[in-house]
Each structure stands twice: as structure tokens, then as C-alpha cells.
């Protein structure tokens, strides 16, 4: 079972690296959107540093959302998803592998780019480790929840806007706890409670969302 999981991850990573140019897109999107905030609001240092925890996380939600589509879209169109269900291994494990691979492609670069962009928004240095931790725990949750939405809309044309409508309300707890932890760290308050809640959310999502994704994919294929 573990080897099946690893095979799926390796296969998805391989497919992603064959189209290397697309790997950069969510990162560039992230950088550009964050850049818009000083231009649109104010370049004032104090103001931006107050805004920073929210901005870096709201933008991370959007970047996760737009990169989410690619997790099943192509596999759904060429029939690979059906093969997952025909396999001798439980589909939840294989789906978990796909989500992990997708997170490695889209979530892992965020670990570097989010703290970097936060520095551009004058976030205080002491909050950077906290931000790093919240991105590390938070982005897998985004991938796990987002995959449910993608699985439900996989059979639809132009599901992109619909996906946002379905998934963004479900992302709200991640946003609250993650930006809350960073805000607390900026003010020098204890933030472990927020991080613990994020961790609990990750565990819950890891357990439940593969089941929901597999049920949703079955619905979309019918």
C-alpha cells in the first residue's frame, strides 16, 4: 500500500516536472498579487506591517485556489482517475498520494516565497518563524479541502469560478488561525494555541478529506 502511495507521488511529480514552465505560475501569481497591496493601499511601513499577516495569507488562499484545478483536471479528462478506482489498492490512499504530490508541487514553494514576500511588507523579523510554521501546516489543509471542490467540479467546463465559491468559505478557519498566529507573534503574544488548532485541522483533514474526495470523484464520474 505504501509503495502504491509512493508510486502515485512519483508519477505525479514526474508529470509535473515534464511541464516545468507551469510550476512557476502559482508562485508568480503570489508575488504579483502581494505586490498589488502596497500599490493599492499605501506603501507606509507601519500600515503595511499591520496588514501583512492578512495579506500574505489571503493571497496564499487565492494562489492555492488557482493552482488547485490542476490536481485532477487532466487525469479526469484522460481517464486516469477511473483507473485509480479500478486499482487493487484503496482509492483513498491513491488520492492521498495525489494530494501529497500536488502539495509538494504547489505548497512547498510557498514555504520560501511567503516569508520572503512578508518581509517586503515589513513584517517584523520575530514573526517569520511563526509564519513559516503556519504555512507548513496550513497549506496542506488548503490542498486537502480544495481537492474536494475540484473533485466535485471535475466534470464541469469552466469550474474555476464555481470552485472559489465552494472552497473559499471552507478555507476561512485556516485563514483565521494562520493569520491570527502571525499577528500574535508580531505582538509578542503566545501563538501556540493557533498553531495547535491548525495542526488539529490538518489531522482532521488528512483523515476525512480523502474519503470525501473519493466519494466526490465517484459522483463526478457517474
Amino acid at each position: 500500500m505504501l509503495s502504491a502511495l509512493l508510486t502515485i507521488i512519483r508519477r505525479d511529480l514526474l508529470v509535473a516536472f515534464r511541464r516545468r514552465a507551469e510550476l512557476m505560475n502559482p508562485i508568480l501569481f503570489y508575488v504579483i498579487v502581494v505586490t498589488l497591496f502596497p500599490l493599492g493601499v499605501s506603501p507606509d511601513q507601519e500600515f503595511l506591517s499591520q496588514l501583512a499577516p492578512g495579506v500574505v495569507w489571503v493571497t496564499a488562499l487565492l494562489a492555492a485556489l488557482i493552482s488547485m484545478e490542476s490536481i485532477f483536471r487532466q487525469d479526469f479528462d484522460d481517464g486516469s482517475v477511473e483507473q485509480l478506482f479500478l486499482s487493487q489498492h484503496p482509492p483513498t490512499i491513491l488520492i492521498l498520494g495525489k494530494v501529497i504530490a500536488h502539495w509538494l508541487i504547489t505548497g512547498l514553494p510557498m514555504l520560501v516565497i511567503v516569508p520572503l514576500m512578508a518581509l517586503l511588507l515589513y513584517i517584523p523579523q520575530q514573526a517569520i518563524p511563526t509564519l513559516f510554521i503556519t504555512v507548513l501546516i496550513g497549506t496542506p489543509i488548503l490542498s486537502l479541502i480544495g481537492a474536494i471542490g475540484v473533485a466535485l467540479t471535475a466534470g464541469l467546463r469552466g469550474g474555476g469560478v464555481l470552485l472559489g465559491l465552494l472552497v473559499l468559505p471552507l478555507y476561512i478557519p485556516v485563514l483565521i488561525f494562520a493569520s491570527g498566529a502571525v499577528s500574535a507573534a508580531i505582538e509578542g503574544l503566545p501563538y501556540s494555541g493557533h498553531v495547535a488548532m491548525l495542526g488539529a485541522g490538518l489531522i482532521l483533514a488528512l483523515i476525512l478529506s480523502p474519503l470525501a474526495i473519493s466519494a466526490s470523484l465517484k459522483i463526478s464520474m457517474s
Binding site: T153, L165, P169, L170, G180, M197, L208, S216
Partner: protein, 245 residues
């Protein structure tokens, strides 16, 4: 008992069975809301703090209760629809989404109208207001996915799945919003839950709550019947029904 439930899940039987209930449900709704509204708006005393404006709670509070209740009904029906694949429960999901969204919108609008004279503003980012707004977004999501999938049976299953995911998330969203708010704005001027409500106000409120529940069942039945007729329009019994009337 189970055999009866099974029978109820057939559209034709459901249509006949629910038809008998409609006049009772409609009559009870009108009766209860007439009593509740008269008691609440005319008989009940004026609040010494909020004046007459508090009377909107006789609409607002039942609507807010219903917004949660309908979501639970929708998610339960969604579970039934996914496990036992009965047609009626699929219809219940899609119809509940619309009714629930309307209740949520009523709760939000009446709350805003009440907030203006009492808090001095239509909207504050209070935890309850925010989670009610997010609940409305969740309803919109269910409606959106239902209406964008063409095959209505597949659409209902997708909507069921989404409502079940939402039901796991509602408590998480609710508590996260509560903590978020308590962290950032601890001393906002909000009237907390009325510690003790006078019976002269409580009874009409409870009557209105029951009236809203009966109204929900009434409207749900009518909407389900409507949807059954539209879905089964090719079948023999619907044709007979139409030609007979």
C-alpha cells in the same frame, strides 16, 4: 416502519401522501403566525432598553434558528441521498438549499435593520453576524453546484456531498470566528444573550419559532411536489394527473 419509509421515497406515493398534508400545514402556519405576530407586535410590552425596535426579534430569531436547522435537514437528507440513493432525499437537498438561503438572508437583513437603531450601525464584524454570513455563502455554494451540473441526479449528489462537508465545517467555522473576534475586538458593545427573557416576550417568540418550522415543512413539501412533477413529467402517472385535472 422501514417499509413505509421506503414507500415514501417513491415520487408517486410521496406526491399523494404530501398532498393530504398541505392544507393542514398551510392552515397551521397562518394560524400560528397570526397568533405569534399579534402577541409579539401588539400585546407584548415595550422593551425598557431598546424600545419598540426589539420587536423585530419575533422574525429575526426564528429565522436565525431556521437558518441552522435547515442546513442540518439538508445535510441529513444529503447523507440519506448518498447512502440509500432515494430520489426524494435528493430533491430535499436542492430545495432545502434555496429555503435555507432565504431564511439566512432574512436573519441577516432583519438583524441589520435592528442593528441600525440599537448599535448605530447596520453591520459590525461580530462573530455571530460573520458566521451567519459565511453560512449564507455555504448555501450559495450548494445552490451553485446544484444548478451548474446538468444531470439533476448527479447535481443532487454533488450538492449532498458539499452539504456534508459543510456540516463538518460549520462548528469549526463558528468557533474559529468566535475566537477570532474575541482576540481582536474584546470590548465591543454588544448586547449579550438576554439573561432572562420575560414570558410575555418569550411565549410569542416560541410560537413564532414553531410557526416558522411548520412554514418550512409546508414550503418544502410544495417545492418537492413541484420538482417531482417537473422531473417525472414523462411518466404515466403525471400525465394522468395532468389530464385528470
Amino acid at each position: 416502519m422501514w417499509a413505509w419509509f421506503h414507500k415514501l421515497s417513491s415520487p408517486k406515493y410521496y406526491y399523494e401522501w404530501s398532498g393530504k398534508w398541505l392544507p393542514w400545514l398551510g392552515g397551521l402556519t397562518i394560524l400560528l403566525s397570526a397568533i405569534g405576530l399579534y402577541w409579539g407586535l401588539v400585546v407584548a410590552p415595550t422593551d425598557y432598553q431598546q424600545g419598540e425596535s426589539y420587536r423585530i426579534i419575533f422574525i429575526h430569531v426564528p429565522a436565525a434558528w431556521m437558518s441552522m436547522f435547515v442546513y442540518m435537514v439538508m445535510a441529513s437528507a444529503g447523507f440519506v441521498a448518498l447512502v440509500w440513493k432515494t430520489k426524494i432525499s435528493e430533491i430535499v437537498v436542492s430545495e432545502c438549499a434555496v429555503i435555507g438561503a432565504v431564511f439566512t438572508a432574512i436573519a441577516l437583513v432583519t438583524g441589520m435593520l435592528w442593528g441600525k437603531p440599537t448599535w448605530g450601525t447596520y453591520w459590525t464584524w461580530d462573530a455571530r453576524l460573520t458566521s451567519e454570513l459565511i453560512l449564507l455563502f455555504l448555501y450559495f455554494g450548494v445552490i451553485a453546484i446544484y444548478s451548474s451540473i446538468e444531470d439533476k441526479r448527479v447535481a443532487a449528489k454533488a450538492a449532498s456531498m458539499l452539504s456534508i462537508v459543510g456540516v463538518i465545517n460549520i462548528p469549526i467555522i463558528h468557533y474559529s470566528v468566535t475566537w477570532w473576534n474575541s482576540l481582536h475586538q474584546p470590548n465591543m458593545e454588544i448586547i449579550s444573550d438576554k439573561p432572562s427573557m420575560d414570558p410575555s416576550m418569550l411565549y410569542p417568540l416560541l410560537i413564532m419559532a414553531i410557526a416558522f418550522k411548520v412554514y418550512f415543512v409546508w414550503v418544502l413539501f410544495m417545492r418537492i411536489r413541484n420538482e417531482i412533477i417537473s422531473r417525472e413529467r414523462a411518466t404515466k402517472w403525471v400525465k394522468e394527473l395532468v389530464t385528470a385535472s
